[in-house]
């Protein structure tokens, strides 16, 4: 047998054995099984079927699929893949670059000698440490970074140049002013620095940064309210401003219905905390010593919490709430504050709708509570040694469980055209413990104790 014979024989045998071993019939259920599945299956649209199915040519004729559709699909998939890889690359690069530490040192021992250069080099997530020195800079921060002083805060001073750039503090008006830091839509964490000199305010526009443990010395924008304070918060920001020490000059100011949390700051001989707050703003636990004007002042209607602050010797009001039109539906909470030595009043209100004044201690003020709100609560306050206690000039508040003593004038005054509910109060040791205007219509719910008029001798 030659080669060809062997091959022919082998082929013949293969053909035969395949035929012999091929099953004569498929299982009877196979077609039914397919039909059940097919009824539940979704058929591909023509374009997708054409692009997914590999082409098949029979006698050079295209029998199945579409090279064009397949080419377009492959090209599209390639482009999408390239885009995805590029996105992953960019993200990866940023991830790799993130969280680095950058050191600023004026003596050249760090990565940069200027804060602005370090901020420029940083990406979100980075930390910048600033070593001692005096940095005459105006820095824009528009990244989510941490920027902290490294060393004694008194030795790390940022002082904006007088001829530095300026920015507008209010969105809709006001003049431009200088700044040391301008945080724009940033969630940065800034701490451990001293800001010194008139134009060196920290200006926040939008974002939700945390500004803490700073020292501000003599940062003053002058007498014009619209150009900012030591720390100015605008653009609807939800900044947290805490544990800062501000001495002299301007205050912490808020614009554009921003909703900051301002807490545990120590302000000495500044113009206090004031501005145009938005709903949800919190002013809590601050110590405000001898502010020029008011300790805390809010000038736009908004739901604000003012609590646990200590305000000492304000030259006019401790807390001044002077709302314009649009106060309907708002409620301000004034609770657990201690206010003493206010020249005019510890709490002065005008144009409010809802107000709750609870748990405060007012001592040695002109008037403790000058109430001008439509409704609310004055409860559990301790009022001592001032000129007047609670003076209700508007609305129908509930006046409950207050203790008023030692006023050189009147303890509780119910003015004309008011209709408060008065219960469980004690007013004793005042020159006049209870004054009721004949035109008032109070509801006395009982439990009140008004001593005979006259200061104790």
């Amino acid at each position: 047998m030659n080669d060809a014979d062997v091959d022919r024989t082998l082929e013949h045998e293969v053909r035969a054995i395949l035929g012999e071993h091929a099953p004569s019939a498929p299982p009877s259920h196979l077609l039914h099984r397919f039909e059940d599945s097919a009824r539940r299956a979704r058929r591909l649209p023509r374009w997708l079927a054409l692009s997914k199915e590999p082409t098949m040519r029979i006698e050079s004729q295209l029998a199945v699929g579409s090279p064009t559709a397949r080419g377009v699909a492959v090209l599209t998939a390639t482009l999408l893949l390239a885009l995805a890889l590029a996105a992953i690359g960019v993200a990866g690069q940023r991830l790799l670059a993130a969280d680095q530490v950058i050191v600023v040192a004026q003596d050249g021992s760090g990565d940069h000698t200027a804060i602005a250069d370090a901020v420029e080099a940083a990406v979100d997530g980075d930390t910048i440490f600033v070593r001692p020195g005096t940095y005459a800079e105006s820095v824009v921060i528009d990244k989510d970074i941490t920027l902290a002083g490294e060393g004694d805060v008194a030795d790390i001073v940022v002082s904006a140049p007088n001829d530095g750039p300026k920015a507008r503090v209010r969105k809709d008006g006001g003049s431009e002013a200088g700044y040391a830091f301008h945080l724009i839509d940033s969630n940065a964490d800034v701490s451990g620095l001293t800001f010194s000199g008139r134009p060196s305010q920290v200006l926040v526009t939008g974002g939700s940064p945390t500004i803490h443990d700073l020292v501000m010395e003599g940062v003053d924008q002058g007498d014009t309210l619209d150009v900012g304070g030591s720390i100015s918060i605008g653009g609807g920001s939800t900044a947290t401003v805490r544990d800062n020490r501000i001495a002299g000059g301007a205050s912490i100011m808020t614009f554009d219905a921003s909703r900051p949390i301002i807490e545990r700051n120590d302000l000495r001989e500044t113009s206090g905390i004031y501005g145009y707050f938005g709903d949800g703003a919190v002013v809590r636990g601050n110590r405000i010593w001898r502010p020029a004007g008011s300790g805390i002042r809010s000038m736009d209607p908004a739901d604000i919490e003012i609590s646990a602050n200590e305000i000492v010797d304000p030259s006019s009001w401790g807390i001044e709430l002077a709302f314009g039109p649009g106060a309907e539906g708002t409620t301000v909470t004034v609770s657990d504050n201690t206010i003493s030595g206010a020249e005019i009043a510890a709490l002065s209100t005008a144009g409010l709708d809802g107000l709750e004044v609870t748990g405060n201690t007012f001592r040695g003020n002109g008037t403790a509570v000058a109430w001008n709100a439509d409704h609310g609560l004055i409860a559990d306050n301790i009022i001592e040694d001032g000129a007047a206690g609670i003076v209700i000039s508007q609305g129908a508040p509930e006046v409950r469980r207050n203790s008023i003593a030692g006023q050189t004038g009147r303890g509780l005054v119910v003015g004309a055209a008011t209709s408060p509910t008065i219960a469980d109060n004690r007013s004793c040791g005042n020159n006049e413990n209870f004054f009721l205007d004949p035109a008032a219509s109070p509801r006395l719910d009982g439990g009140n104790y008004f001593c005979p008029d006259g200061l104790p001798t």
């Binding site: 080669d3 091929a22 649209p45 997914k52």
Partner: protein, 187 residues
Amino acid sequence: MQRELVERARSGDLAAFSDLARDSLTRLYAVATLILRDRDRAEDAVQDALLHAWKSVHALRDPDAFEAWLHRITVHACYRSARKERRRVAVEVHEVPDPSSPAHPDPSAWMGDREQLFEAVGRLPIEQRAVLVVHYYLDYPLSRTAAILDIPEGTAKSRLHLGLSALRRVLHDDAVAMATQAGEGMA
């Protein structure tokens, strides 16, 4: 008739597709069984193939190519099934022709022992086995076999040659072993 059924199937007529599938089912199942050597897996492969074909019947441009296309889908379903069973396949496959061995042993040693030959086919790599099944069982010419397997015609020829050579080699070794055993027995 088949053209009309294909056209109806392309327009979403499942009954028409089922008629087409019924006509082809015996051969599809046979192809899958011969390639996979396992009736359960063959059944699954045919099921997969039919479902794929039903979902993608839009892709068929020439209704006359329906059956060849169905065969191609079935072979590829077998490949997928084999990949799933990679470990088993790995021990199934495995004779590579040895160029130094005799190219054409004495055919008289194995002619007539078809079980032995069938076992040898089963030990071929699945790609070579598929070429044998499509070419010899379905009786397609090599050009169409290549089209069905989605490979160049040269590759189809090469796999066919390798497959047949491997069969010759395996069968030769078996024949030698049998002769040796017979000789020892006589001694």
